[in-house]
Every structure is written in C-alpha cells, then in structure tokens.
C-alpha cells in the first residue's frame, strides 16, 4: 500500500494498524519543500506489488490540490486501486468521481455544514459487488437460513448499498448531511470554489506584506484551496491562535492532525487560517488588522 507523507492522521493511522494485522507493507511517498506532492516519487513507488494507492485530494494543512486523476491512472496501470481522501475537496470544489476515475473516495459530513459522526465512502459498484461485508447485523443480510442437519446458518448478503450498512443506521445524521448537500448544491460548487479562491488570493497577497509571517505550502492560487498555514516569528502557533482569539477570530493551531508533514516542514506546529462559504472580505480585513498588530509586537 502506498500513501503520501502529507496525509491527515486519519489516512495514516488506520493503514498502520491494518498493515500489522494483515502483514502488508505500507510505503510513504515524499513531498516537495513547499508541501506539494512529489509526483515522480509517488509514481516511482507505485509498482505491480501495490494493491492500493491512497492520497488526499486536498491537503488539510496547506490546501494544496493533488492531481488524483493523474495518480489514479498510474495506479490502474500498475493494477492497484485508487482511494482518495476527499474530506477537504468535496466541501469546497466540484468533484466528479467518474471523471477522476478513482475507485474509492471518502468525505465527512461535519466539514461541509453537516452533522458530525457521518460521512460518505463512494466505491465503484463493480468493486463493491466483489467485496464481502466488513460488519454483520440486520439489514445487510438477505437470508439467514438455519440448516438443522449441519447446525449452521447459510447467509446471502443483501444488495448494495445495504450489504455494507449493518444495523440501524445514523438516520438523523444522513438526513442532516442530505440537507447540507442540498444547501451547497443550491449555491453551486463552482461558486463555492470561486468564493474561496477569491478570499484566498486576497488574503495571501496581504499576508505576504507582513515581515514576521512565514506562509507555508504552495502560494499559487491555481494549486490550492482556502487554507493558509503560517507561523509568526517569535510566537508559538498557540500564542498566535490565542492572540486572534482575543479578537473573536478563530484559527487552528498545532499539527492539524498531520504531524509527519510538520516534520518535513521542520515546524513544531503552525497556525492555520481557513475559509468557507460564510466568510467575507470584511472578516479577512479584520484578520489582517490584527495581523498588523502582531507585526508590531
């Protein structure tokens, strides 16, 4: 199995755990100094022994967009399946799984105005048909026939998607997530993307004027979405976040669940500014005003 070193812990830890159980080798591909994917390294490490290639569509630390379509083709050429972490792409940009030709793509409800505790795993139908259920219970089964002679129950799985939905599902969560999807589709994912790109460009240009701020990750607006990780000279990321908190501006500080990428950046942590549909230029201006105060410390 091959993953990139830029991944969120949720795209590293489960594979580390299952690789020990199943006994397969987990390999990591490198990133460039700016945190963008080293495509040559990823593609070189993909070989006919690779069963699954896994990559985030958008980095949750840098906002950098990965060309998963390109990687999916190379994965398929090597006989591997392609799994994409879409937690940072699906809420922020149009995503067409058929066009990307990925085999699996996962995303979370809580990152797209929906409830916590629910997400989506898309899988190609022909692959899901071949897979056995990972969990047993009600609803995922069509038949449980007891054979008295053999003292055994013969089982027939239900059809997709129920085969993978054992037990009483998170009904309220699914309704909430459906409402979030409808809300975003009503706005239009093209418009969501355009809005975030505009805010990101506006912010990046002004943040670069600060003498104490270092912005990490790719700078080109064509390569990234609305996430800006940064550090401030002389302050820890937690101090930066608490300073902004004083003004009612919430930033994330720390590793952002991506410690390996921070090790690559040689950072103890970073502060992260991120945007969504509800953010405005006025809010960005307020952020920049506070940043100027930090600059004068």
């Amino acid at each position: 199995m091959l993953v990139s070193i830029m991944e969120h812990h949720s795209d590293i830890v489960p594979w580390e755990i299952i690789s020990k159980i199943k006994g397969f080798k987990l390999k990591y591909s490198n990133v460039n100094d700016d945190g963008t994917l080293d495509y040559a390294d990823f593609e070189n490490k993909l070989c006919d022994k690779t069963k699954i290639a896994c990559l985030s569509h958008v980095s949750n630390v840098t906002g950098g967009i990965n060309d998963v379509k390109r990687i999916a083709k190379v994965a398929h050429d090597n006989g591997a399946l392609m799994l994409v972490d879409g937690a940072q792409s699906v809420p922020h940009m149009p995503v067409d799984v058929r066009d990307l030709d990925v085999d699996f793509l996962a995303f979370s409800g809580h990152k797209m105005l929906g409830p916590t505790g629910i997400g989506v795993l898309y899988g190609k139908k022909e692959i899901l048909e071949k897979m056995d259920p990972f969990q047993g219970g009600g609803e995922m089964i069509r038949e449980v026939a007891y054979n008295r002679d053999k003292e055994h129950c013969g089982m027939v799985w239900n059809e997709l998607p129920w085969k993978f939905e054992a037990g009483t599902p998170n009904i309220s969560g699914a309704i909430g997530l459906g409402a979030a999807v409808d809300y975003l589709e009503n706005i239009g994912m093209d418009k969501v993307l355009e809005h975030e790109k505009r805010l990101t460009k506006y912010t990046l240009e002004r943040m670069e004027e600060s003498s104490k701020v270092t912005i990490h990750g790719p700078r080109s607006i064509s390569e990234k979405l609305g996430i800006i990780p940064f550090t401030v000279e002389g302050l820890s990321s937690h101090d930066v976040a608490l300073f902004f908190d004083n003004y009612g501006i919430m930033l994330r500080s720390g590793y952002h669940c991506a410690q390996p990428l921070h090790q690559i950046f040689k950072l103890e942590s970073s502060a992260r500014l991120s945007f969504y549909v509800y953010n405005t230029e006025t809010e960005i201006d307020r952020f920049l005003e506070v940043l100027k105060e930090i600059d004068q410390l």
């Binding site: 820890s236 937690h238 608490l242 004083n246 720390g254 669940c257 921070h262 103890e268 942590s269």
Partner: protein, 89 residues
C-alpha cells in the same frame, strides 16, 4: 472553600511539538482569576495590552485578556494543579 474548578472551565493540551497546556477560565470568573494572578505572579512583560508574560514559582506563562492562559513545559497535571492553586486559591 474555593477550588481550582471554581475558576477553571477546562484545561486543554495543545497538539504540536511544544506540548503546551492551555487553561480556559470560566467566563464569569475570568476577571477575578486574572486579578488574583496579577497579585501573586511577577509581570515580566505586557504585550499590546492583550498578553501578559508572567512568572510564578519559576514557571513562565502567558495570560490573555480573553481569559485564557498558556503554560509551557508542564510535566503533568499535578504540577499544573499546584501552580494554579498557588495562583488562584
């Protein structure tokens, strides 16, 4: 008899190599907590009227006017509780 819980809403460990601890004071008690801390700790620096750099029993920390404090290099919860008790009780 007052306890730390009378002043502290919650304590969070930060993620990152720094391993800092953030103490969040109860909103309605934050001004009282900051006033007590200012009486007992030594103010080393005041930054932008927002951040107070302080020392107490050899421990340096920062208090923000929003009612949050950040402590560095705290070994364990017992050490933090001891410092908070000294500052607040």
């Amino acid at each position: 008899m007052a306890t730390i819980d009378d002043y502290v809403s919650r304590i969070e460990g930060t993620c990152g190599a720094e391993k800092d601890v953030i103490v969040i004071f109860k909103y309605e008690k934050k001004d009282e907590a900051i006033a007590k801390i200012l009486k007992r700790a030594t103010v080393k620096n005041k930054i932008a009227g927002i951040i107070l750099e302080l020392t107490f029993q050899g421990q340096s920390f920062r208090v923000y006017s929003s009612g949050k404090a950040i402590f560095r290099s705290i070994k364990n919860r017992e050490e933090l509780n001891s410092i908070l008790a000294g500052l607040l009780l």
